[in-house]
C-alpha cells in the first residue's frame, strides 16, 4: 500500500483550515474555518473530524494551477517512505537494505500465481517448504485444471509432464476485439465471469447479474469515480477511522470530495465488545457533527475486512450500519478487497452481497479487486457491483479514463473462472501461508509484550506501540517510525490511517519467511532500545 504521511503539524485532519484554493462550496469554507482550531491532542474526546487535504498544503508553483499544486503535493509527500525504501530495497544482494513491512501486499503466493498467470514464465520466488508439499495437490486435479495450474517449464521439475503449449494458449490469447476500443464497462465475457465469481464467493442468495458489474483498473479508480458521480465538489463521505489512508487521495484528486472520520477508540467501554469497534451511535454522532459544520455527507465507506484493523463485521453489524445509512439516505460503499484473505476459519466472514435483504440496494455499492486476494496489486483490476444502473452508467462513463487492457481482461476472466485451481490450490495454500506468517509475527509481539489487534483477516497486524512514545504525540510517533526506517524496516504509522491515538503502527506480515524474520529482528532491536539513533535531520 501507499502511505500518506501528513505534514508535521501533529494534527491529523480535524483542522479543516483554509479551503478556498480548491473552489469548495463557499458555504462550507467559512463555517469550517471558525470551527477548525480543535486538535485531537487538545480535545481527546473529539469523535469525528472533517478531513481537508488542502490544509496541509502550502507551496505554490508558477507552472501549475492551484489544484495542480495540491495534487503535486500528494505525489511529493506520499513518496517519503516509499522512495527511501525503493532506493535501498532489501534483496539477497543487498542484505542491509530496507525490509518493507509497510506496504500491504501479499508476497507469499507469487510462485502459485506466476504459474497460473503466465505459464512458461520463470519463477520469481522460491516456494516455502509448505508450498512445495502442497504442490502435490496438482497431481489429483483434472487434466483441464492441470493445464490451468500448469508448469513453469524452466524451473519446476515437479510439473514437467504438463504440456506447455496448451498452457500458453490459455493466458496468451490475442483477438482483434481485445485490441480495440472496449465496452467501457469492461468486456462482457469478463463481467459475466465476475458476476459468477462474486455470486459464488460472496454467497449471494441469488445469482448476481453481469449488467450490475463495472470493471476498471483498480479500486482506487473506483473510489475516484464514485466520489465524482455521487457528490458535488466539497461534499463528503463518512469513514470509520483508522482507515486505509490512500482513500483520502482517491476521493479528493478528481472528485474534490472529503472524508469525515468516525473516530474509533482502542478503549473498550460500555456497549463495545472489542477495541476500535464501530457502533451506530458513533456514526450518528459523526454525521450530526458534520451536518452542524455545514458539511453535506453523501455516503459511508466501509472496509470489510477492515484495513488496518484486520477486523470483520458480523452480518448483524452490517445490517445496522446499512440501516443507519438508509435512515439518512446515504450511499454505502463497501470495500471488500480482502474478502478472500480471511485466513482464520473461526472468523465468519460475510460479504454484504450475502445478505438476504439489503436495506437500500439502490444505494449499496460493493467493491472488489484482485490486488489483495490474489496478490496482484500490479495487475490493476477492480470491479464495482451495484444494482443502481444510474451509478453503474455514470461510473462507466468515467471508465474511459480508468480502462484496462483487453488482454488483461481476458487473463482475468481465465483466472476467475478457474474455480478448481482457486479452491483446491490457491486459497488453501494462501490461507495456510498467511496463517503461518501471522502466527510467527503475533508470537514475536507477544514475546515482546506488545499489545496488538488482529482477528485473522488481511495482511497486517495493528500494533500498539504507545508505551514506546515518550509523549503521546504524532511527532513522537513519526520519530519512532523514522527510527524503524533508520534500522532498515519500513512500517506504516497510525497517523497515515487517521488514527486519533498516537502510537499505533500497521505491520504487514504477508512476506517471505526470511524477510519477515529479519524485519522482526530489526523491529525488536528498535523497541529494545538497541537501535541506532537518528543520524541527522534529513532522516
Amino acid at each position: 500500500m501507499f502511505i500518506l504521511p501528513q505534514k508535521d503539524s501533529g494534527t491529523p485532519t480535524t483542522s479543516p483550515g483554509s479551503v478556498s484554493t480548491q473552489g469548495l462550496h463557499s458555504n462550507h469554507g467559512d463555517g469550517l474555518e471558525r470551527e477548525g482550531s480543535g486538535k485531537p491532542d487538545q480535545k481527546p474526546l473529539k469523535l469525528y473530524g472533517v478531513g481537508d487535504p488542502t490544509a496541509m498544503f502550502s507551496s505554490d508553483s508558477p507552472y501549475l494551477s492551484s489544484r495542480g499544486s495540491i495534487i503535486k503535493w500528494f505525489w511529493d509527500s506520499a513518496e517519503e517512505g516509499y522512495r527511501t525504501y525503493h532506493m535501498d530495497e532489501y534483496e539477497d544482494e543487498n542484505p542491509s537494505g530496507i525490509i518493507n513491512l509497510g506496504t500491504s501486499e501479499n508476497k507469499l503466493c507469487f510462485d502459485l500465481l506466476s504459474r497460473r498467470v503466465s505459464p512458461g514464465a520463470p519463477l520469481g520466488g522460491i516456494p516455502s517448504c509448505k508450498g512445495l508439499s502442497s504442490l502435490g495437490f496438482l497431481g489429483t486435479l483434472a487434466p483441464e485444471s492441470l493445464l490451468l495450474a500448469s508448469a513453469s517449464v524452466r524451473s519446476s521439475a515437479l510439473l514437467s509432464p504438463v504440456c506447455p503449449q496448451l498452457s500458453q494458449s490459455d493466458m496468451l490469447r490475442v483477438e482483434p476485439s481485445l485490441l480495440q476500443y472496449p465496452d467501457w464497462r469492461g468486456h462482457l465475457f469478463l463481467r459475466e465471469e465476475v458476476a459468477r465469481f462474486l455470486s459464488f464467493y460472496c454467497r449471494s442468495p441469488a445469482p448476481l447479474k453481469p449488467e450490475n458489474v463495472v470493471v476498471l483498473n483498480g479500486c482506487a479508480s473506483l473510489f475516484s469515480a464514485l466520489a465524482t458521480v455521487l457528490c458535488e465538489v466539497g461534499e463528503a463521505f463518512l469513514i470509520p477511522a483508522p482507515y486505509y489512508g490512500a482513500i483520502t487521495q482517491h476521493v479528493y484528486l478528481y472528485g474534490n470530495v472529503r472524508l469525515v472520520c468516525v473516530y474509533l477508540d482502542s478503549e473498550v467501554t460500555g456497549l463495545e465488545t472489542r477495541p476500535f469497534q464501530l457502533t451506530v451511535e458513533k456514526l450518528e454522532m459523526a454525521l450530526e457533527g458534520a451536518n452542524s459544520e455545514g458539511v453535506k455527507v453523501k455516503g459511508l465507506i466501509l472496509i470489510n475486512p477492515q484495513n488496518p484493523l484486520g477486523d470483520v463485521y458480523s452480518p448483524g453489524e452490517l445490517q445496522e450500519y446499512l440501516k443507519f445509512a438508509k435512515r439518512h439516505e446515504l450511499h454505502v460503499m463497501v470495500d471488500e478487497v480482502y474478502m478472500l484473505s480471511v485466513f482464520e476459519e473461526s472468523v465468519g466472514y460475510h460479504s454484504v452481497l450475502s445478505l438476504e435483504r439489503l436495506p437500500d440496494p439502490q444505494r449499496t455499492h460493493v467493491m472488489w479487486a484482485t490486488s489483495k486476494d490474489f496478490g496482484m496489486s500490479g495487475l490493476r483490476f477492480g470491479t464495482l457491483y451495484t444494482e443502481n444502473q444510474d451509478v453503474a452508467t455514470a461510473v462507466s462513463s468515467l471508465c474511459r479514463y480508468h480502462g484496462l487492457s483487453g488482454l488483461v481482461q481476458y487473463q482475468m476472466a481465465q483466472l476467475l473462472r478457474d474455480r478448481d485451481w482457486i479452491n483446491q490450490v490457491y486459497l488453501p495454500e494462501n490461507h495456510a501461508r498467511l496463517k503461518a506468517a501471522h502466527t510467527y509475527v503475533s508470537e514475536e509481539l507477544r514475546a515482546l509484550g506488545i499489545p496488538f489487534v488482529s482477528r485473522g483477516a488481511g495482511f497486517f497486524i495493528w500494533v500498539d506501540l504507545r508505551k514506546y512514545l515518550p509523549a503521546a504525540t504524532f511527532e513522537e510517533e513519526k520519530l519512532l517510525w523514522r527510527r524503524f526506517l533508520d534500522n532498515k524496516v519500513l512500517l506504516s504509522f497510525g497517523q497515515a490511517f487517521e488514527c486519533k491515538e498516537p502510537g499505533w503502527f500497521r505491520l504487514v506480515f504477508s512476506d517471505k519467511t526470511h524477510r519477515l524474520r529479519l524485519g522482526m529482528q530489526r523491529v525488536r532491536r528498535v523497541l529494545e532500545g538497541k537501535s541506532q539513533e537518528p543520524r541527522g535531520p534529513h532522516r
Partner: protein
C-alpha cells in the same frame, strides 16, 4: 434473438387490464415501454442461462456477444421512446434528463430481479414526474452519465457492427478512428512467446509514473522516432492508461475549474470530453476557415494572428487561458505543421505565458514520403521547454486502442510530478507494461515489418477513397497522413446550416453509416464531414457504395426541393445552378 415480435404481448395485455383507467395516455405509453423492456431483459436472461449449460467457451462468448448486441440495440430504442414520451409527458422540452435515469427507475421499486414489472409500474405511477430525476447522482454525475448515451457510436454501433458475412445489415463506422487496418500484424506480434513473461515486480505496486523499464523504452523510442537532437530522459516520461487520461490529468494540473485551453478548430472531439468530464476546463476555439486568403496560404491554416485574436477575445470575455492544445498531424484535417510553424506557435506560447500541449498521436501514420513530419521533440531548442508538453500513444499509430497506453513527455518536473499523482487512478497493468515495452523494443519488427506494411495499406486505402471522391466530385482535404479525409458536402445542404448537416448525418445513419460531422469537431462552417479510410478494402468498398447512395438520395431531395421552391416563386427567374449531385444521379 428469436421472435422479437411476440415479446411485448404478455405484459402489455396484463397491463392494459389494470391500467386502463383515468390515467393519461402518456402514462400508459410509458408502462408499455417499460414492460417491453422488462420482457426483453427476461428474454435475454433466459437465453444466457440456457446457453451457460453449453460447453464451448468461445462459442458461448460469441453467442453472448450477439445477445448483448441485441440488448444494446433494443435498449437504445427503448430509451429513445422513453425520452420522447417523457418530453411529451412533462410538456417541458427544455428539461432533458439523461436517458439513464429512466433505466434506474425500473429498479427503484425494489431493485431485485424478482420484482415483476407490474409492481414496478405501480411505483412508477405514484409519482410520475419524480421518476425523471435521478436521486442518486450528483449534478456532475448526471452530466457524466448523459455523455455515456449521447454518442451514437458507443451505443447502437457497438451493438450492430457491419460484418461482410455475419451482419451485412450492420453499421459501417467511418466516424471514429477505430482502425483495423493492421490489426492482423499486431495480433500476430503480440501472440509471440516473448510476450509471455511475468515477474514479481509486474504483479506488485508499480512506480506510479510507469515502470522504469517502460519509461526507459518510451524515451528511447521517442528519441529515435521524433529524431530528438539529444537522448530523451526517462525521468521526463509519465505513462498512463491512454491519451484521454493524459489530457484529463494535464487539464487538472494546469488549469483550475473554469479556466481554458485554446484549441484550433476543427479539432478532435475527444479533447472536449477529456478536458471537461473530470477537469471542468473550457476550450476556447481558434476558428479556422476553409477559404484561402492572404493570411492563410492553405485551407484551415493556423496562424499566430488567429491565435492572438482568439486569445484576446477570450480575455475580453473574462476567460483565463492557461494553454494551447495543438495536434500535429491535426485531427481531422490531416495537416502536419512545418517546423517553422511549430516554432511560431511555441513563440506565441512563450510570449503570452501559456503552456503548449502537443499531441503527436499520429506521428507514425504519415504515409506520404514527400511530407516530412517534425516532432516538437526534434527541435534543437524550445522557446519555453518548461511549458511544452508532448503526448503520444499506441492507440492510433499501432491501432491498439484496447491496450490503454498513453504517455506524456515534459521537461517540467512539477508538471510530471503532479500528473504522476494520478498514476494510481490511471495505472496500466504491469503485464501490459511489459508487453508494450517488448513491442517498442522490437525495432526490427516495427521498422521493417509493421511500419512499411501499415503505411502501404494506408496509402492504398487513401488512394482508393480519394479516387472515388474525385469521381463523386466531393471536395476533400488530406495531406498524406492520418486515417481520414476531411470532406466537404456543402453542396448537398440547402440551406447550408448545421441543422441540415445534422439531417445529412442522420441520413447516413439511416443508411447504416456513421460519419462524424463537422459540428462535433467544433468546425465553424457547416457541411464538413470526417471520413475514415483506415479500413480493410472490402469494408471500404461497401462503404463507398453506401456513401454514394446516400449522396444520390440527398441530391434527389435537393432537386425536388429546388423544384418546389421554383414553383412557389414562379416569378423568380434566377434558377440556381444544378448541383453536382444531379449529375451524379445520371452517372
Amino acid at each position: 434473438m428469436s421472435g422479437p415480435s411476440d415479446m411485448p404481448s404478455m405484459p402489455y395485455g396484463q397491463m392494459r387490464d389494470q391500467a386502463l383507467g383515468n390515467r393519461s395516455i402518456h402514462t400508459q405509453l410509458m408502462e408499455m415501454v417499460l414492460s417491453l423492456r422488462q420482457t426483453v431483459e427476461d428474454n435475454i436472461t433466459q437465453l444466457m442461462t440456457r446457453h451457460q449449460q453449453q460447453e464451448l467457451a468461445l462459442e458461448k462468448q460469441r453467442h453472448n456477444q450477439a445477445v448483448r448486441d441485441q440488448e444494446a440495440f433494443l435498449g437504445h430504442l427503448m430509451f429513445q421512446m422513453l425520452h420522447y414520451l417523457q418530453s411529451g409527458a412533462t410538456g417541458d422540452q427544455s428539461f432533458q434528463p439523461p436517458d439513464t435515469s429512466m433505466d434506474s427507475r425500473v429498479n427503484v421499486g425494489g431493485g431485485q430481479q424478482a420484482q415483476s414489472s407490474r409492481q414496478i409500474l405501480v411505483y412508477q405511477r405514484s409519482d410520475f414526474e419524480d421518476t425523471l430525476i435521478s436521486y442518486d447522482l450528483s449534478n456532475r454525475g448526471i452530466d457524466i452519465s448523459a455523455l455515456y448515451h449521447s454518442s451514437f457510436q458507443d451505443y447502437t454501433y457497438q451493438g450492430n457492427k457491419y460484418h461482410k458475412d455475419e451482419n451485412t445489415l450492420g453499421y459501417i463506422n467511418l466516424g471514429t478512428s477505430e482502425k483495423k487496418i493492421c490489426i492482423d500484424l499486431l495480433a500476430e506480434r503480440l501472440s509471440r512467446t516473448d510476450m509471455l513473461y511475468i515477474d514479481e515486480d509486474l504483479l506488485q505496486y508499480p512506480d506510479w509514473r510507469g515502470q522504469p523499464f517502460l519509461r526507459k523504452e518510451v524515451a528511447r523510442f521517442l528519441t529515435s522516432d521524433c529524431k530528438a537532437p539529444a537522448r530523451l530522459d526517462p525521468e521526463n516520461v509519465v505513462v498512463l492508461n491512454g491519451c484521454s487520461s493524459v489530457f484529463s490529468t494535464l487539464a487538472m494540473v494546469l488549469c483550475d475549474p473554469g479556466e481554458a485551453f485554446l484549441v484550433p478548430t476543427p479539432s478532435h472531439g475527444g479533447f472536449i470530453l477529456s478536458t471537461h468530464l473530470y477537469a471542468k476546463v473550457e476550450l476556447v476555439p481558434v476558428h479556422l476557415e476553409s477559404q484561402v486568403t492572404e493570411a492563410s496560404a492553405y485551407p484551415f491554416q493556423l496562424t499566430v494572428d488567429k491565435l492572438e485574436q482568439a486569445l484576446l477575445r477570450a480575455k475580453i470575455e473574462g476567460k483565463k487561458v492557461r494553454g494551447l492544445v495543438l495536434s500535429s498531424h491535426q485531427n481531422p484535417l490531416g495537416d502536419i505543421y512545418s517546423q517553422d510553424s511549430v516554432m511560431e506557435y511555441q513563440e506565441f506560447g512563450k510570449k503570452y505565458n501559456v503552456h503548449v500541449i502537443i499531441d503527436e498521436f499520429y506521428m507514425l501514420s504519415v504515409f506520404d514520403e514527400a511530407i516530412p513530419f517534425h516532432s516538437v521533440l526534434s527541435l534543437e531548442s524550445l522557446p519555453d521547454p518548461n511549458k511544452t508538453h508532448v503526448t503520444w500513444g499506441t492507440s492510433k499509430d499501432f491501432g491498439i486502442s484496447g491496450f490503454r497506453f498513453g504517455t506524456l513527455y515534459t521537461r517540467n518536473r512539477e508538471v510530471a510530478s503532479a500528473v504522476s499523482s494520478f498514476g494510481y487512478l490511471h495505472s496500466i497493468s504491469g503485464v501490459t507494461q511489459y508487453k508494450l515495452c517488448q513491442l517498442l523494443q522490437d525495432r526490427e519488427w516495427v521498422d521493417n515489418v509493421y511500419l512499411p506494411i501499415y503505411r502501404f495499406r494506408l496509402q492504398e486505402a487513401h488512394g482508393y477513397i480519394t479516387d472515388k471522391l474525385k469521381v463523386l466530385k466531393v471536395p476533400f482535404l488530406n495531406r498524406g497522413s492520418g486515417l481520414y479525409v476531411w470532406i466537404n458536402l456543402k453542396q448537398y445542404l440547402d440551406p447550408c446550416t448545421f441543422e441540415e448537416e445534422l439531417l445529412l448525418h442522420c441520413r447516413f445513419l439511416d443508411n447504416k453509416m456513421i460519419l462524424s460531422r463537422g459540428k462535433t469537431f467544433m468546425c465553424k462552417e457547416p457541411g464538413w464531414f470526417c471520413l475514415i479510410f483506415a479500413a480493410r478494402p472490402l469494408l471500404l468498398r461497401s462503404a463507398i457504395q453506401w456513401f454514394h447512395q446516400v449522396l444520390v438520395e440527398q441530391g434527389q431531395d435537393w432537386g425536388v426541393k429546388q423544384l418546389e421552391d421554383a414553383k412557389k416563386e414562379e416569378a423568380s427567374t434566377s434558377q440556381p445552378a444544378a448541383p453536382a449531385s444531379l449529375t451524379l444521379r445520371k452517372s
